[in-house]
Symmetry: C2
Subunit: 347 residues, 2 copies
């Protein structure tokens, strides 16, 4: 038995050395079928083989195989605006009849008038006011029920599908492949933790305690003598930019060896990962597929991927995924060659 | 195969119904050998059988089998004072030569003078000043190294053993037994998260991301162009009392079905667990064994277990563990009948 294991380890090491993809025997099913063969896919397979092969100089024990993923634009669609923001707008409209003051109070008035141009002028402060109004004042259980119900009906303006259908099939395969190889997978997103937890287990196989995001305070209260947790308007943690590296320490407590993002907000997470002791893997999803999804980056309001980040990534040997070239399908429901409707101007 | 599984399920259900302990066949090894046979041990075995038997009305799917444990006094010794406070005092002494101002500045002066009586007069505020001074101003990696080195040499005044040897063997067995039955185990403690993470994986098999505790802010900074996380003096989260229920939501995101504590600070965690939808298990470790460990409760400075909590626990059918009667050994290194030195007055 030991001899067999040793032989397998030696074979795997040789395979790594000659540049083959030892994580997969010729007759084994492809663990990443939605990824086109090419250097990006090879890099992933080689990396996983190196860190999981006992005896390899790059071997990493299972509990240290931490993989972190941004969510919006990395695991699911973020255009034309973040899904959570669509929820916020829908929620403001849904409860407006309980808030007659919103008819004249901004930024609520602009939401109710459907005046997107004016809404945008209120910027981040306006967005936070809307998030606070829709994400607090109820119990944690009620909020989860509200989000779950919304996710069952709300549809994306271009794809006419539920948002939970708009996860990227190649990334789901990657998450599953990593877990099958002893990695623990986490989400590290600027999005709201409570919002994400309503669907991450179903969509990504990631349980609530492996979701790192932005979050508000809660308060433990007795309600009719039953204990309950009420969501408060105060921000507790903001998980974006440097906050992603801080959040990784705060919520995970271990440096990742693999991380994937898609925008400038992921820079510090990738730098923190690149600083790991052993062999590490940094990935960026580049949205360059206007036909099947969207093409954006340097000047985008959401998911900004500036030229400097691209230059840094290429200079540092980070893996920049071309959605157009590296993925043979974007969504699980989309056949490889399926054309999807072009975005309408307002999408 | 299916028939065999069904038969096993039916047998298990019948066993539950007749009050046997179906989690263990007669010839299987006892999963809780440090627990004496009795109602407490039966309650644990029966509970786990009920929630893990498919087809049982009390069945709980694996991802929902969340178990939370307080740390100090529940998983390891907390007398004569919390281990983390011993670290703080040792640390103040160790770095005093870099802080000449401490010679005249309280509460540092009292620590350096060894004047415990005076130190106590500074109360919680004094303790926080000491914690802040010893837990910030270094990187997260440096702090982990400092704690790890301290744990390798510091010894308990009465037991003359490393603090990591002072974990309770019956509770370690319980953690392992729960994980073997598909539970995910978490620590939910008032102690410092970063301090606990230095030993929880080695001692309890609990990885850093399943440690919920009190914590300070960190800041992502470039140090000689390398990314680093610096520990700041500001408190980010206080995980005690109602904070434990809030922390469970914040860090775990799912209500526990089983929880263990040992003091008034665990009340809200146990109430929040008792409010779970299905069958839940609430446990309290009662320190009533002065010979092998300590006997304390109602009037203790640490681990206070007031009379009202005991009355509530008994009235609500919570499980109060008598260390004296329910555990045949306290520590892994202690033979069942081993006498340990009686505490010195200052212990």
């Amino acid at each position: 038995m030991i001899t067999t294991v040793r032989l397998m380890a030696v074979a795997a090491l040789i395979a790594v050395w000659v540049g083959a993809s030892p994580a997969r025997a010729d007759d084994a099913p492809d663990p990443l079928p939605s990824w086109n063969d090419g250097s990006l896919k090879s890099n992933i397979l080689d990396y996983v083989a190196r860190v999981t092969t006992e005896g390899s100089p790059d071997f990493v024990p299972k509990p240290e195989r931490i993989a972190t993923f941004d969510n919006d634009g990395t695991l699911w669609v973020e255009k034309p605006v973040y899904t959570q923001f669509v929820f916020v707008v829908d929620r403001v409209k849904a409860v407006a009849n309980q808030h007659s003051e919103w008819k004249t109070k901004e930024p609520f008035k602009s939401v109710l008038d459907g005046n997107t141009q004016k809404l945008l002028t209120y910027g981040e402060k306006g967005a936070m006011a809307l998030v606070t109004a829709t994400h607090s004042g109820m119990t944690t259980v009620e909020f989860n029920d509200i989000v779950s119900a919304w996710l069952k009906t709300a549809k994306h303006p271009r794809f006419k599908r539920l948002y939970t259908d708009l996860t990227y099939a190649p990334m789901i395969e990657l998450l599953e492949y990593l877990r099958a190889n002893g990695f623990t997978t986490f989400i590290v997103s600027g999005g709201g933790t409570a919002f994400m937890r309503a669907y991450t287990e179903q969509c990504y196989g990631i349980p609530p305690w492996q979701v790192v995001g932005s979050s508000g305070e809660t308060e433990f209260r007795y309600w009719d003598s039953s204990p309950t947790l009420v969501k408060l308007p105060d921000l507790l943690f903001f998980d974006d930019g440097p906050g992603k590296a801080e959040g990784i320490n705060h919520y995970i407590g271990r440096q990742p060896i693999l991380a994937f993002g898609n925008s400038i907000g992921d820079k510090e997470m990738l730098e923190w990962t690149a600083n790991c002791k052993g062999l590490c893997f940094m990935g960026l999803v580049h949205h360059d597929d206007a036909k099947r999804e969207y093409a954006y980056g340097p000047d985008s309001d959401v998911g900004r991927f500036p030229v400097e980040l691209m230059e840094d990534a290429l200079a540092n040997g980070w893996n920049v995924v071309s959605m157009k070239d590296d993925w043979n399908r974007i969504f699980a429901w989309g056949a490889p060659e399926a054309a999807v409707p072009a975005p309408a101007p307002q999408d």
